[in-house]
């Protein structure tokens, strides 16, 4: 495994723990289909949360949140629909969240969670 993948994996783990700690119930992780992958699928009250996790080893290339482009968000919306269809469930509300993590050394991350990015 390459370093960036290890960072990504541990970032996703940290993000999942963070979301659970803040009251979201995680339904699915690393769900894949032909169009791509959803990092985390969770439920917060009546809303389905499709969550993208971005991890960075530092701020040299800007905040990890900036890496979630307009095209990426559009794809997440499509993937959300596909997840709903694949599982045959309905939700009152579907939301796209982004969790940005910056590696701070010794296994710790600073975590930023942005709700409802479109």
């Amino acid at each position: 495994m390459r370093a960036k993948d290890i960072l990504g994996k541990s970032g996703e783990q940290a993000a999942a723990e963070y979301l659970e700690a803040s009251g979201l119930r995680i339904l699915d992780r690393n769900w894949r289909c032909a169009d791509g992958e959803i990092d985390i699928v969770a439920v917060e009250r009546h809303a389905l949360v499709v969550c993208e996790v971005k991890s960075r080893s530092g701020m040299r290339y800007g905040s990890p949140l900036e890496a979630v482009s307009r095209a990426k968000r559009a794809r997440l919306r499509r993937l959300a629909v596909q997840w709903l269809n694949a599982h045959g469930v309905r939700f009152d509300q579907v939301r796209i969240d982004v969790v940005g993590l910056v590696y701070e050394g010794t296994g710790g991350f600073t975590i930023e969670h942005i709700r409802g990015v479109g």
Partner: protein
């Protein structure tokens, strides 16, 4: 999350409108959105400002940033909002105390490295800000002297964004680089505005001395290489005409063969014009500031401008216009000075006719979608033309081969209505042998003529005190008849010309104006019959 406000100015023509720049930082994916009718250059500010902030060692807020420019209906153009947006953004992010922004106006373009770049139009912008009660402005160093021309405004000259931030935070030198210098605009005893040096540094920033300082209050250049009226040989009538035009602000047309001295005379007219007074100098400097034609290191233009556009100039170049930012044309740049159209018949006809309206109104109005820009354009028009297209000397028995029709057509390119607005029409004869050899000793220098012009202008200004006009050429006809009629009976010949149809009603008014100027030059309290007859002669010129 947080909101901060800064202020800048949008320029429409030379009129400044204060623009409120709001920066809002909210939760969301990092992005910067700009609203409020920005043009492309202003939209690009997003990337410029980001690079400038990061390279100044500040933190770029990784949130959703919304920048609003209001009033939103006013089109905002160019890069001069950079500084106000950057500072507003940092204030919203809490990196600059918001109280420091009270009553401060920002004006400058940012480089990617955080350098503060000078922009055009600082003088009218700062003047507009001062009118709206702003007492402090932050500008680029190169704009400081110009901004300091506005009285009662504290000017802060910053070389970089970091220096500007240090000044706002009152932490000089913290962010490195040269700290900002404070200037204070002031007026000296002679009513002349001279910017003082920066208060803090103790360096002497004096306004460069004018090249010429011959007579007090005149524009006569003292250097040997500068043009002087004494170099013009012969042409006593043309000299007289030029003197009258300089004294009264009348328009002049010079008709004559090549080499007679038309261009030479026109180029020397600025040397006999008085220096601009403070109000006029500020007006002229504002126009040139917007056009970006201010010479470096000369914040205030005190010499009357002289503009000689080439005859291929377009209508937009002469009267102003252009897409995007509306720029003043030559007519406005020549405000309070001279607009010289050499080879006038070679100009496109619509260009010449576009001058008719500014000649009457003293201003140019350029309308574009959403905005109307007004530029003052009270200039002295000087037309020069050859009598025919072959341009061979047209004296007695010389080889002009043009038929009368050709010559008439050539001169007809200067339309009648335009010529009707020209007060003094002079026909120059080719310079003769005797003049070439002998006249040298008797030709008056610019200095001598300038003194007479100055005295005549003072007489006119004294008579016109309390009125909005300064020059005889500016007085409207109705006012002229009511308040300042010539000596009774002196208009007899003029009236006869009117009856014969030689002169229009507008022409009569123009003749009376010129008669007043002739009287002013001679020191007579009122135009006499001789003055009126002379003015009529100048107005009629020689028609071909």
């Amino acid at each position: 999350m947080a909101l901060a406000r800064t202020y800048s100015v949008a320029l429409i023509g030379i009129t400044g409108h204060v623009v409120e720049v709001e920066a809002d930082i909210a939760n969301g994916l990092p992005a910067m959105i700009m609203v409020g009718l920005p043009d492309t250059a202003l939209r690009e500010a997003r990337d410029r400002i980001r690079a400038a902030i990061v390279n100044s060692g500040e933190k770029w807020p990784p949130h959703k940033i919304t920048v609003g420019l209001s009033p939103a209906s006013l089109p905002k153009r160019g890069s001069w909002f950079d500084l106000s947006i950057a500072v507003g953004l940092l204030a919203a992010a809490g990196q600059v105390p918001r109280v420091a922004l009270d009553g401060v106006m920002f004006f400058g373009e940012l480089g990617l490295d955080g350098r503060l770049r000078p922009v055009r139009g600082v003088l009218p912008a700062v003047a507009a800000a001062a009118e709206r009660g702003f007492r402090r402005v932050i500008v680029a160093e190169a704009n400081a002297a110009e901004a300091a021309l506005v009285p009662d405004v504290q000017v802060v000259a910053a070389s970089t964004l970091a220096a500007a931030l240090d000044w706002l935070c009152d932490t000089p030198g913290l962010r490195g680089g040269r700290p900002a210098a404070e200037w204070k605009g002031s007026q000296d005893l002679h009513g002349e505005i001279l910017p003082n040096g920066p208060d803090t540094s103790g360096q002497v920033h004096s306004v460069p001395a004018r090249s010429g300082c011959g007579l007090p209050g005149t524009a006569a250049p003292a250097t040997a290489t500068a043009p002087d009226l004494a170099e013009l040989l012969g042409q006593s009538l043309a000299r007289r005409g030029a003197e009258v035009c300089a004294a009264g602000g009348h328009h002049l047309s010079l008709l004559g063969p090549p080499g007679a001295g038309k261009t030479m005379l026109a180029e020397r007219i600025p040397t006999i014009l008085p220096r601009l007074d403070t109000a006029a100098a500020l007006e002229v400097t504002s126009i040139h500031s917007v056009a970006g034609t201010l010479p470096e290191h000369v914040p205030l233009l005190t010499d009357p401008p002289f503009l000689a556009p080439h005859h291929t100039a377009t209508k937009a170049a002469i009267v102003g216009g252009g897409s995007g930012i509306i720029r003043p044309g030559s007519a406005s740049l020549a405000h309070r000075g001279v607009l010289f159209l050499d080879e006038a018949p070679e100009f496109a006809r619509d260009v010449l006719d576009a001058l008719r309206q500014p000649l009457e109104a003293g201003e140019v109005v350029v309308a574009r979608s959403g905005v109307t820009a007004r530029f003052p354009a009270r200039f002295t028009l000087i037309l020069a033309a050859n009598p025919c297209p072959c341009a061979r000397a047209a004296g007695p028995a010389e080889g002009c081969s043009c038929s009368p029709t050709t010559r008439r057509r050539y001169l007809a390119r200067i339309s009648g209505p335009l010529l009707d607005r020209v007060d003094v029409k002079i026909e120059l004869e080719p310079v003769g042998r005797t003049e070439l050899l002998n006249d040298r000793n008797f030709a008056e220098s610019s200095q001598t003529v300038a003194l007479r012009v100055l005295q005549a202008r003072e007489r006119a200004a004294h008579r016109l005190r309390g009125s909005p006009w300064r020059l005889n050429a500016e007085v409207p006809g109705s006012e002229l008849r009511r308040t300042w009629p010539p000596t009774p009976g002196s208009l007899r010949v003029v009236e006869r010309s009117l009856e014969r149809g030689q002169i229009s009603a507008r022409g009569v008014v123009k003749v009376i104006r010129v008669a007043w100027t002739i009287a002013d030059l001679a020191g007579r309290p009122r135009p006499t019959r001789d003055d009126c007859d002379m003015a009529l002669g100048l107005w009629l010129g020689v028609r071909r």
